[in-house]
């Protein structure tokens, strides 16, 4: 890591595991769950959030000394809303089908708690470069969980990944289906996302006992 000092590297690496925005800070869950039924939507959502949070953190950090603290929430919302409109228009232009799948959840990036949380907790008190790294790190931590959930839900729910059949053809009974395997329809329904995230939290906290909450 010659490019980044150790402190800077930690800004990116910490949120990936021990300070993950979803499983530890409990932020940004709303959009994380609804769109993870397929992997492709999860990846696009992750990229959108990385863009919005990375750029937004820099913008807020540059403006941090001129924003009156009383109206800072509205200023932050306007900055995020502008960035999200850009994402939404780009998606509509280049990936129309996908933007239909994501529907209102692109707009809901505005109220994604990770974004406001990082603006409040980090960008308002730190310089642009550090804020940029912090934004990218947290968005990556969010994206990782999204992609893990999307991976398992699509794999076990429909037997495909990114639309490509992995387990064989369920109608022609090839591959794994020849052995009597059936797609698990439970993974497609919305509540399954909650249970998958619950299991991720379980695994993570079993590995790192320091994260266990007091009863």
């Amino acid at each position: 890591m010659a490019l980044l000092s150790k402190k800077d590297a930690n800004l990116i690496l910490d949120p990936l595991a021990d300070n993950n925005p979803i499983t530890i800070q409990v932020l940004g869950i709303c959009s994380a769950l609804a769109i993870t039924a397929e992997l492709k939507a999860s990846i696009v959502m992750a990229i959108s959030v990385i863009f919005v949070l990375g750029v937004g953190n820099v913008v807020i950090s540059l403006m941090r000394n001129i924003i009156p603290s009383k109206i800072r929430i509205i200023v932050q919302l306007i900055v995020v809303a502008t960035l999200v409109i850009i994402v939404d228009q780009v998606l509509k232009a280049f990936a129309y089908e996908l933007s239909k799948t994501l529907s209102v959840f692109v707009g809901l990036i505005i109220t994604n708690c990770i974004i406001m949380g990082r603006f409040e907790a980090f960008a308002l008190g730190n310089g642009p470069w550090k804020s940029f790294l912090d934004g990218i790190g947290n968005a990556l931590g969010y994206g990782v969980i999204l992609i893990i959930v999307g991976f398992f839900r699509e794999l076990f729910g429909t037997g495909t990944l990114l639309g490509y059949p992995v387990f064989g053809d369920p109608i022609a009974k090839t591959g794994l289906y020849a052995t009597g395997y059936e797609n698990n329809g439970f993974m497609i329904i919305p509540p399954a996302a909650l249970i998958v995230v619950g299991i991720i939290i379980w695994v993570q906290r079993s590995r790192n006992k320091a994260l266990i909450e007091e009863a």
């Binding site: 499983t23 409990v26 932020l27 940004g28 869950i29 709303c30 959009s31 994380a32 769950l33 609804a34 929430i73 509205i74 919302l77 306007i78 809303a81 502008t82 999200v84 409109i85 939404d88 228009q89 529907s103 209102v104 707009g107 809901l108 505005i110 109220t111 994604n112 708690c113 406001m116 329904i189 919305p190 509540p191 399954a192 996302a193 909650l194 249970i195 995230v197 619950g198 299991i199 939290i201 379980w202 695994v203 993570q204 906290r205 079993s206 006992k209 266990i212 909450e213 007091e214 009863a215």
Partner: protein, 245 residues
């Protein structure tokens, strides 16, 4: 009237904000440790949704939709400002939340104190913006229905947070595996509640098929036409007969 009742129950049970579309999960998880605070936040969400959804419906209808500016004059009929809807909706919501905060502080200081920092957070509660965005996406036709949608989805959210807060108060006495304590078990319980709420899915679908009288089959239509033709033929024949005589 019937569509009001249908929308009301649909938004509370079938399209429940928390269990079907996961909106407002952040505050749902953070504020559900005690029933009393959960009730306060739930009431605030109902109120804010009831105000912002109709307001945003008006904005959508008369400012943002394709051709919505036609009331300004025919030269404005081609404008489509719908790309601005995010920024306008969130500005409306932030303003309304500020207003609610002032009102609550004035009239109920105890509620204000117990909600603490969470009242300003309603502005960034996904359930509020989600309510407006779903209202736009589902093309709710009238102002009355938009108000109904706001109130009923707020009630759905209120029910969800009330239920989870009650369960969390009890689960403190259970022997939950250590790594699952707190957040993990809340996620899994919410998932199970969501599966429970899925059983409401068939509640309103039984009546969706149109009654037979209103949609006659094509075969019936052809028969009707033939009968009409026969009658006309008979008339023509009798007319000719009369003429011949």
């Amino acid at each position: 009237m019937l569509e009001h009742v249908e929308l009301f129950f649909k938004s509370i049970f079938i399209d429940n904000m928390v269990f079907a579309v996961f909106l407002g999960m952040c505050s749902y998880l953070a504020v559900s440790k005690k029933v009393s605070t959960a009730v306060g936040l739930g009431a605030a969400v109902i109120f804010v949704l009831a105000v912002t959804v109709p307001l945003n419906w008006l904005l959508d209808q008369y400012l943002l939709q394709d051709g919505a500016l036609a009331w300004l004059g025919p030269e404005f009929a081609d404008y489509n400002l719908s790309f601005l809807s995010f920024i306008l909706f969130i500005a409306t919501i932030a303003t309304m939340v500020q207003l609610v905060e002032i009102v609550v502080e004035k009239f109920s200081p105890s509620l204000y104190n117990s909600l603490g920092i969470f009242l300003p957070l309603i502005a960034v509660n996904c359930a509020i913006l989600g309510g407006s965005l779903f209202m736009q996406a589902r093309e709710i036709p009238t102002l009355g229905l938009a108000f109904n949608y706001g109130v009923s989805s707020g009630i759905g959210w209120f029910l969800a947070i009330l239920a989870i807060a009650a369960i969390r108060e009890k689960i403190r006495y259970s022997n939950v595996p250590a790594p699952l304590r707190g957040l993990g078990i809340t996620f899994i319980i919410t998932g199970l509640m969501g599966i429970g709420f899925q059983s409401f899915g068939g509640m309103l679908t039984g009546d969706n098929e149109p009654p037979e009288e209103t949609a006659p089959s094509t075969a019936e239509k052809i028969e009707e036409k033939e009968i009409k033709k026969e009658i006309e033929d008979e008339k023509a024949i009798s007319y000719n007969e009369v003429k011949n005589k």
